[in-house]
Amino acid sequence: MRRVVAAAIGLASIAAAAVVAAEPPAGAAACSGCHPGSPRVTSPVVRLAGRDRDQIIKAMQDFRSGARAGTVMDRIAKGFTDAEIQAIAAWYASQK
């Protein structure tokens, strides 16, 4: 029984990883309007691909609450829920 559960958990996490790597969650595709995806672009705006998930979550939450001052991110972060922020952060963290 224990083995079956372990196997099921294993499958679930593989499935979750596959979901994360596939289609970007709602809102994620719009970030690359300012946050460069291409290595050929130089910009003072941070790259998101491969960045630590918790770092992205904290930055978004701080912009949203006003704890961190932004130029436009304070205004944009207010449009996202906790669940959306977590999904976007997990997706970018999984990108190379």
Binding site: A26, A29, V72, G79
Partner: protein, 423 residues
């Protein structure tokens, strides 16, 4: 035929499509076919996002120009801060993604037959069609302003020769001349654009021809980022730039190109340089496809950007009626990616997911003074609506360093978005 062999052939077709040219590619491609008409911020973004979402999709981009000339930052070209070449991009890297580029114009669309007719009479069939035709000028909607008039009174609202014509007129004008900008009623491409242009022309006059005057004749009483623009104008260009709203006689009712005269209900203004930003509509092919309503723009589903008038045809960018989203390059790119994901889901037998979109627009009121507006959008009651509590304009009390930072971010945005779409 075995699955492996079939897959191998599919891969082969995808890899060689752009090399062999459109005819062979059409004959060989076995994946879903998507045609994108228009290679601007919306169309080129969508074509590339489709290939990224599903490399099995055979994407053809119909675009007559070998070079794309971007509108954002073209106001800087008008006043000599920037060269037009900095606005120009080619489609080499778009093609390198395996997208077939048809260097021609789409002249007709048969929605029931799912086919696009090209200028040479050839037909492209599709499973889904994406129209990203941008804007067309409504010639004649402003009495006196036809295509010939734009050689005297440039609109410069599609970047290129018109941009350079307005620049030359400003450069050769004697100091002390009257410059007039006529701004249109809503909706039109780039809502803050006329006011950024007014700001930069005022900056040009202040530094190069300080005895001159700039009049903005407006068909509206309110405009994008109005308080920020007006505060900056009072600070930077007092006595030089005057904005005349609709209620004070700003509405231009006709023009006389030979004398560069703009007629309003309250009188006539004879300009040395006149920039007429005329009424607009969705690019011509949208009307031919039957996806425009009586407004001249295209009603769409906010989840998939599929036309509300013709199934199987999606409309993105300036041509679409996108609810609260403005007609901007950022919005076009944001919409393109959502539309590509929806189209990829639909041709693959899946269900499009509910999107969330962003817009950010920077405007320069001086070379080192930027302001912005941002918004977050989601489908609400069949429209793309603002997410409550999000978005808005730069703070009105921001220190000058913040304005400088936004001017830097504006340029960074342009490099990033053009790198993403064309690089």
């Amino acid at each position: 035929m075995t699955t492996t062999r079939r897959q191998f052939l599919k891969l082969g077709a995808a890899a060689t499509a752009s090399v062999l040219g459109p005819r062979r590619a059409r004959a060989q491609a076995s994946g879903p076919r998507v045609v994108v008409v228009g290679g601007g911020f919306a169309g080129a973004s969508c074509a590339r996002a489709l290939r990224q979402a599903d490399p099995k999709i055979a994407v053809t981009l119909v675009e007559p120009n070998a070079t794309f000339t971007a509108c954002p930052f073209s106001n800087s070209v008008i006043v000599g801060m920037r060269e037009l070449s900095a606005q120009q991009f080619t489609y080499e890297r778009v093609a390198a993604d395996g997208i077939t580029i048809a260097r021609t114009t789409a002249t007709a669309i048969d929605a029931p037959a799912k086919s696009v007719t090209l200028a040479d009479g050839a037909k492209l069939t599709y499973d889904r069609l994406v129209l990203a035709p941008g804007i067309d000028i409504r010639w004649g909607a402003l009495p006196g302003y036809d295509e010939a008039a734009s050689a005297q009174m440039p609109h410069a609202w599609r970047a290129g020769d018109q941009t350079l014509l307005l620049r030359r007129q400003l450069e050769t004008m004697d100091d002390g001349g009257l410059v007039v900008i006529a701004a249109p009623a809503n909706p039109f491409r780039c809502p803050p654009g006329p006011y950024e242009r007014a700001s930069l022309i005022a900056h040009f006059l202040k530094t190069k021809k300080p005895k001159s005057k700039l009049l903005v004749l407006d068909a509206k009483d309110a405009f994008s980022k109005q308080r920020l623009f007006q505060a900056a104008w009072a600070e930077l260009y007092p006595g030089l730039l005057e904005w005349v709203p609709l209620s004070k006689g700003g509405n231009v009712t006709s023009v006389e190109p030979a004398t560069r005269t703009l007629v309003t209900d309250f009188g006539k203004h004879q300009a040395k340089v006149a920039n007429v930003i005329p009424p607009q509509k969705a690019g011509r092919i949208a009307e031919a496809a039957g996806v425009t309503d009586r407004s001249g723009w295209c009603p769409i589903d906010p989840v998939t950007f599929e036309s509300k008038l013709q199934p199987g045809i999606h409309v993105i960018g300036d041509a679409a009626i996108a609810g609260a989203m403005p007609k901007s390059a950022f919005a076009a790119n944001s919409q393109a990616k959502v539309c590509a994901a929806a189209v990829a889901a639909l041709v693959g037998g899946g269900t499009p997911s509910n999107p969330k979109l962003i817009n950010t627009c920077y405007s320069l009121v001086a070379p080192d003074y930027g302001i912005s507006v941002a918004g977050v959008y989601q489908p609400t009651n069949g429209q793309l609506a603002d997410v409550p509590g999000a978005g808005g304009v730069s703070p009105s009390d921001a220190p000058r360093e913040a304005r400088k930072a936004e001017a830097v971010l504006a340029e960074a945005w342009f490099r990033t978005i053009t790198g993403e779409v064309f690089g």
